[in-house]
């Protein structure tokens, strides 16, 4: 029972990590310059259904997101259209400056295959233990749902907690139960 409670408690203390993204270092390879990563990540843009991140030369996308402080990543929300939304998504933590050529040389910290539910906004819970000490996150979108030439991502949201500033009040609540 305490395990379940602690699981829900962890979820309670998750915040949207948007505030901790170091925008100066955000990079996206193979993005269409008119439909850039900002459309999927930034507050406001990502809520707009008309603004998508689109791939350019082929269907793969490589997104690099550094953070301003060390975070723990709990779950990720990727929203997209049913056909052109991403399918296989590989996440790498703390790997700087990867390219498409070496992306398959390392084992990923986690791989998610997105279902249509996920694409509507259901969070994908990740292997929390692998993302305990994340300075930067690399998201590799390998293919999309229908196998088309262009992958379109409407929103990417990261949920987790920061390492330095864990909310003490949240912890106390667990103990009360």
């Amino acid at each position: 029972m305490s395990a379940v409670e602690s699981a829900t408690a962890i979820q309670r203390s998750q915040v949207d990590l948007l505030d901790f993204i170091d925008w100066s270092g955000v990079e996206c390879l193979n993005q269409n310059s008119n439909h850039s990563i900002a459309n999927a990540l930034k507050q406001g843009y990502r809520e707009d259904e008309g603004l998508n991140l689109e791939s350019d030369a082929d269907e793969q996308l490589l997104i690099y997101i550094p953070f301003t402080q060390v975070i723990k990543l709990h779950s990720i929300v990727i929203k997209g259209s049913e056909e052109e939304g991403p399918k296989t998504v590989k996440l790498f933590s703390n790997k700087e400056h990867m390219g498409f050529s070496n992306v398959n040389d390392f084992p990923s910290s986690d791989t998610a295959v997105l279902s249509p539910d996920n694409l509507k906004g259901k969070p994908t819970v990740l292997k929390y233990v692998k993302f305990q000490n994340v300075r930067s996150l690399t998201i590799f979108i390998e293919d999309n749902q229908s196998g088309s030439e262009i992958t379109k991502v409407q929103k990417i949201a990261l949920h987790g907690s920061t390492v330095e500033t864990t909310d003490m009040k949240g912890l106390k609540k667990i103990e009360e139960h």
């Binding site: 390879l29 193979n30 310059s33 350019d56 030369a57 700087e96 390219g99 050529s101």
Partner: protein
């Protein structure tokens, strides 16, 4: 000034022996490479450039990306010509070399010199291009030599596949008397996506093409921003002045009478309206004045010393020109104009103002081209001083008398 890592792919195949580009294709290519290395390293000191050869025994990297210009220039020595160019392998090796650059913040660029026929077909070239685009590598192609087997078409297709927001370019250089490097200097390969390029390129262009530089006023904003700004500002000032002159020519007749008593907010406007009474003489004076500020100053001072009998229009012309330079002076002069229109004794006021050594020297210092230490200026000031002293004495004599009358 973009931070860039560049790989230059040189064609050293047998076809480079051809003399259709003077002195030989290979030599022309080497000159162009040297120029590019210089331009890149100069436009941003953190830029790195590397060189590889595409022919010979095989694709070989001569210099990995470095910012050391000496190394780059030296690597071209002792290069042997031979073999056939392998474009696909060359571009792929260049991409690999860029991938392993030290500073990951640098943008990646490949410059290819394609002087021989191209073996791969259009499809494979397009695939290569797309791969480059995917990894955000820009590509510049220098197409020279003979055009056979659809070479131009293939290269255009490659460029279209790579091009992302016009960051990639292609230049076709036909054989002829023009050196390869001269043709390249004016292209975006040198000037870097139209940002304005480097002073190096501008200087080389000026030397080679006879002063045709890409910049206004021939000054590179990157190299000397203050000078460029100053030139631009003075150009605009001159334009504004000329516009005002055109305006006054149109309003000549009507403003002539009203000009003297009008109190307008813009001092310069007042001045020019005054001057509208004068004929083209005013224009000539204006032109002359711009040559010698000293002479103007002496004239202005002499004018203000004179009895009010001197024509206001001419006086005001002089003042208007001086006024354009210094608002402080303009204010003083406007005061003098208004006063002189009413009362002759105000001349004393002006001369008192001018007699104030510190005030005058501060005005002189702010006038461009006038050196307060100039002997002729000093002379004028000295003569003024003596004149104003006599006037002051007169005033002092007057004042006690007035007081006497006032008190009694």
């Amino acid at each position: 000034m973009v931070l860039e890592a560049t790989m230059i792919c040189i064609d050293n195949s047998e076809r480079m022996r051809n003399g259709d580009y003077s002195p030989s294709r290979f030599q022309a290519q080497a000159d162009a490479v040297n120029l590019i290395c210089g331009a890149k390293t100069q436009s941003n000191p953190e830029n790195t450039v590397g060189v590889l050869i595409m022919a010979g025994k095989g694709v070989r990297v001569l210099v990995t990306p470095t910012s050391d210009l000496g190394k780059l220039l030296a690597c071209m020595h002792g290069l042997e010509i031979g073999g056939e160019m392998d474009l696909a392998a060359g571009i792929q090796v260049a991409q690999l070399a860029l991938k392993h650059r030290q500073n990951k913040k640098q943008q990646q660029r490949i410059i290819v010199f394609a002087g021989s026929p191209i073996k791969p077909d259009k499809k494979s070239l397009e695939m290569i291009g797309r791969k480059l685009k995917k990894n955000s590598v820009a590509l510049d192609i220098v197409n020279f030599g003979e055009d056979d087997e659809g070479k131009t078409e293939k290269l255009e297709a490659l460029l279209a596949a790579v091009n992302n927001n016009d960051s990639s370019h292609i230049v076709h250089v036909p054989a002829g008397p023009n050196a390869l490097s001269d043709v390249l200097i004016s292209t975006p390969i040198f000037t870097g996506d139209g940002e304005g390029g480097s002073g190096f390129a501008a200087a080389a262009a000026a030397a080679a093409a006879g002063g045709v530089s890409g910049f206004e006023f021939g000054v590179d904003p990157n190299l000397d921003p203050e000078l460029a700004l100053a030139l631009r500002v003075s150009m605009e000032e001159e334009r504004a002045r000329q516009e005002a002159a055109a305006k006054k020519a149109a309003e000549e007749a009507s403003k002539q009478e009203k000009g003297g008593e009008q109190q307008s907010s813009s001092q310069d406007a007042t001045m020019t309206e005054h001057a509208s009474g004068a004929t083209s003489e005013a224009d000539n004076k204006r032109n002359d004045l711009s040559d010698d500020d000293n002479a103007l100053l002496q004239q202005a001072l002499a004018m203000s010393m004179d009895e009010p009998a001197s024509s206001h229009d001419v006086q005001d012309t002089e003042m208007s020109d001086a006024a354009a330079d210094d608002p402080e002076l303009a204010l003083a002069l406007q005061l003098s104009v208004q006063d002189s229109a009413k009362d002759s004794s105000s001349q004393a006021d002006v001369s008192k103002l001018l007699a104030d050594q510190s005030f005058v020297s501060s005005i002189l210092a702010s006038l461009p081209g006038v050196d307060p230490n100039d002997p002729s200026v000093k002379e004028v000031l000295a003569s003024m001083q003596s004149q104003s002293e006599t006037q002051q004495k007169q005033d002092e004599d007057r004042a006690p008398n007035e007081e006497k009358f006032g008190s009694s």
